[in-house]
């Protein structure tokens, strides 16, 4: 269900794909990450990325009652306002959908092998992202 792609994503279409023909989904949360004031180039470790995204998604599925979830991450050249990443979670209840989406983003930010370059400079990892990811460790099921 997860994709790494250069092209943009269509949130309506992705939600429709997850919810189509189902009546057991009461809550859908989407997170989109966008490029702010800079021009970015995204690269990744093809192969390991897909494995890590799969593991992160599987971990979310064990922690929350999710009907579906999907992660889409773009690579290549991106300009201000462009979408970078999309996470969608679908659940019977909103608390599961919200928490799982936050979890997916926190883990993706600290584990999925993507790197951002801004012009000639590699973007540095943020301690706040490590801290955000660490809070889920204490809540391990």
């Amino acid at each position: 269900m997860n994709h790494v792609q250069t092209e943009d994503f269509d949130i309506n279409a992705e939600i429709a794909a997850l919810t189509k023909g189902r009546s057991d989904i009461g809550a859908v949360v989407t997170f989109s990450g966008l490029v702010r004031d800079v021009t970015l180039t995204l690269e990744h470790y093809a192969g390991m990325t897909e494995r890590e995204l799969g593991k992160i998604e599987a971990e979310a599925q064990t922690r929350w009652a999710l009907q579906a979830c999907v992660i889409i991450h773009r690579i290549g050249a991106l300009k201000p306002g462009d979408n970078i990443v999309l996470v969608i979670t679908a659940s019977a209840h909103r608390q599961d959908a919200f928490e799982a989406a936050e979890f997916l983003m926190d883990y993706l930010k600290t584990r999925a092998p993507f790197w951002k370059r801004e012009g000639e400079d590699w973007v540095e990892a943020k301690a706040s992202d490590d801290k955000a990811a660490a809070r889920w460790q204490a809540r391990k099921p």
Binding site: E43, Y45, R51, H73, I84, V85, F114, V123, A125
Partner: protein, 83 residues
């Protein structure tokens, strides 16, 4: 042994990928890094600060004390910054 480098490590080392044959004394990831650092200033710069090096054997994160075994690929990269 196939090695992969990403992001700033790739730039410092000057290649995304190479095949190397480390001596038999190189058993674990830390030993591999020690040996790579003897190969020139690019490697030295790349592996200088080990706190910001991540390693993966066959696309799985490993600690520096992980034994190398006979992997298909070993990758080194800086902390990830996707999302």
């Amino acid at each position: 042994m196939k090695l992969l480098y990403f992001a700033s490590l790739r730039q410092k080392i000057g290649t995304p990928e190479e095949d190397v044959t480390p001596p038999d004394s190189v058993r674990d990831v830390a030993g591999l890094i020690d040996w790579l650092m003897t190969r020139g200033p690019g490697y030295e710069a790349a592996f200088e600060n080990r706190a910001i090096i991540r390693a993966a054997i066959d696309q799985e994160y490993v600690r520096f004390d992980a034994l190398l075994g006979t992997p298909s690929e070993v990758a080194f990269f800086p902390p990830v910054t996707g999302g």
